[in-house]
Symmetry: C2
């Protein structure tokens, strides 16, 4: 089962990477890009019998390792098909 | 309109970050996590009249700035609602 974990800085936390990307896009002429937030993306191939079980493993991994819960939040999507 | 861009290393490219995360998860006891690939994640807030237009801007941004097309591939999702 494949789980996708998206880790982003919380909205209240300043995101210098995103700001740099946004500035670079404006320099390239993309003035209609209003805001950019950069985050991390993980694809986990999990050997689990159900999607719920895979989601549980992914959430634990995110809590313990992938995200810093003080400044980051995460979102998980589980793909049913394998 | 919000566009999400996921940038991952192509499957043929060695992903040392993903391997390190995978090893760390095994050390933490998650033996059922078989494989991890790490990538980058961007949320772009784009001022565009249609989802197609937003997708076009996001694809150009990914080609020119966000991804290195030699070793990385990307995927774009556009959120209709704003």
């Amino acid at each position: 089962m494949r789980a996708r974990v998206f880790v982003t800085l919380k909205p209240s936390v300043f995101d210098p990477q995103g700001t740099t990307v946004s500035d670079a896009l404006h320099t390239l002429g993309y003035a209609n890009v209003k805001d950019v937030r950069q985050g991390k993306y993980f694809e986990l191939e999990i050997d689990a019998p159900t999607a719920d079980e895979a989601r549980k493993v992914a959430a634990e991994a995110a809590d313990k390792l992938l995200a810093n819960p003080v400044i980051e939040s995460y979102r998980i999507e589980v793909e049913e098909a394998r």
